[in-house]
């Protein structure tokens, strides 16, 4: 009957409206995008629920996320990706590594260099290094984890243990060989490092740092690439 079918039609229409993704840039799209852009500098993961206030409610956010993701990628080369398959947490990764250190501000360069050193040594150990061993290697380079460093600043340990881990540059894994052994903590390359750095870049960095020809890193490169293929 006409009225019932009209009601049914309008109910269907509002249901599909509720889930229909938005394809035009409106104020809410701009607000969500601006929130994300404001937070990319810190490189800390963004939770879904942090974006809800910019959209109004969860449903409005859901309708706009595909467009926001597309705009970030197409206009800024920023890839908004879930931290893992099930995650309600997102990270913003640059579509490619920085072409030169000039893209970083002078204040960011020491931290970038420290990160390169850490990633290098993890790479040299087959993408897994025990934390104590990493800090021992840094000591050999005259970088004391718990003392102020002239270039890397105060709190090198905090930068590595906390900041780089939170920013997803490093992944921390705990491993216990048996119930009788102490648990050990290992550092690996995190998802952001894998996306923003290439092994070749780290090899170039390593050859300059250690004053060696890049060729000596070939076995490590092969091992790292095999490991990456296996993961995929």
């Amino acid at each position: 009957m006409a009225s019932t079918s009209r009601a049914a039609r309008s109910q269907n229409a509002s249901l599909s409206q509720a889930t229909q993704p938005i394809r035009e840039v409106d104020d809410k799209v701009r607000a969500i995008l601006n929130y994300i852009l404001d937070h990319t500098a810190q490189k800390i993961p963004i939770k879904d629920k942090d974006l809800v206030p910019s959209a109004g409610d969860r449903n409005e956010l859901k309708k706009r996320l595909p467009l926001v993701t597309e705009l970030l990628a197409k206009r800024f080369g920023i890839l908004l990706t879930p931290l893992d398959a099930a995650s309600k947490t997102l990270i913003c990764i640059a579509e490619e590594p920085v072409a030169s250190i000039h893209e970083l501000t002078p204040a960011q360069r020491p931290q970038f260099t420290l990160l390169c050193i850490v990633l290098l040594y993890i790479f040299l150990r087959g993408n897994r290094i025990e934390d104590s061993k990493l800090y021992a290697v840094l000591e050999m380079l005259n970088i004391q984890a718990d003392e102020e460093h002239g270039y890397f600043g105060a709190n090198v340990r905090k930068q590595i243990d906390e900041t780089f881990v939170k920013q997803q540059y490093l992944k921390r894994e705990r491993s216990q060989l048996s119930a009788y052994d102490d648990a050990k903590t290992f550092f690996l390359w995190g998802p952001r490092a894998k996306a923003e750095f290439t092994y070749e870049q780290i090899v170039q960095f390593g050859s300059k740092l250690l004053n060696q020809h890049p060729k000596i890193f070939e076995p490590h490169l092969i091992m790292a690439q095999e490991g990456a293929n296996a993961e995929q």
Partner: protein, 238 residues
């Protein structure tokens, strides 16, 4: 070329404000990596930037060139087009810290030449009326952060309004501090620390008045003969 533009946008957002030299330092390896020719003259850089702006403006972002006389430089500034002092730097800041930004901005803008001695930036007066206080060390940290972001500029032990404030907050500054912050009559953009008429003291952008004086020899404001000498180049600093 699109990848190059996107890489450049990310770098601009990271730096907040860039000199031509920095732009060139960024573009050289970026263009080389992608085997495209680099925009090398200032004009071609401006064209490059305006192409990028087409893809940013509808999202509330923009790249704007501004002359910054006290450093004798022209900067490219990354801005949000609808920013206010409250929205500007409030990522992860407490309400008191946001208020510190607004008050510091107002304090500097209220001065005739829009600058204050560096230690005046840490005055408790700036936190009057806030329920909680901000530690001095935190104020120093924040001022450093805001200076890196281009909202303020430190020069010769004084703190000036930075290039990003002049672009992003020009409407706020012009409307709340019209005593000292005015628009150049010739181009209608904010003008500070620039050339004044010897008779009426009205300020103009050096480039604007230079172009004007190629056709007339009087001040556009008071009509008297223009007497203030204009320096030839804008990039020689004092």
């Amino acid at each position: 070329m699109e990848v190059v533009k996107r890489g450049f946008v990310r770098a601009c957002k990271n730096h907040s404000y860039l000199s031509y030299e920095l732009i060139d330092n960024i573009l050289s390896p970026l263009c080389a990596n992608h085997k495209v020719s680099k925009p090398s003259s200032k004009e071609s850089v401006k064209v490059f930037v305006s192409e990028i702006n087409d893809s940013l403006n509808d999202l509330g972002q923009s790249l704007v060139f501004i002359k910054y006389p006290i450093k004798g430089e022209e900067y490219l500034v990354y801005v949000k087009t609808d920013a206010t002092p409250d929205s500007v730097s409030n990522t992860g800041l407490t309400p008191e810290e946001c208020q510190y930004f607004s008050k510091l901005l107002d304090r500097i803008a209220a001065e005739e030449d829009c600058n204050i001695p560096w230690n005046a930036a840490y005055s408790e007066l700036l936190l009057q009326g806030t329920s909680k206080t901000v530690k001095k060390s935190r104020m120093q940290e924040l001022l450093q952060k805001w200076t890196q972001m281009g909202y303020f500029m430190e020069l010769d032990e004084r703190i000036f309004l930075g290039p990003r404030s002049l672009v992003e907050l020009s409407f706020y500054l012009g409307s709340h501090h019209e005593e000292h912050i005015k628009n150049c009559m010739l181009c209608k953009c904010l003008v500070l620390w620039d050339t004044r008429c010897g008779s009426c003291n009205i300020q103009f952008h050096r480039e604007c008045i230079h172009t004007y004086l190629q056709r007339r020899d009087i001040c556009p404001s008071c009509g008297n003969l223009w007497t203030t000498p204009l320096r030839r180049s804008t990039d020689s600093s004092q």
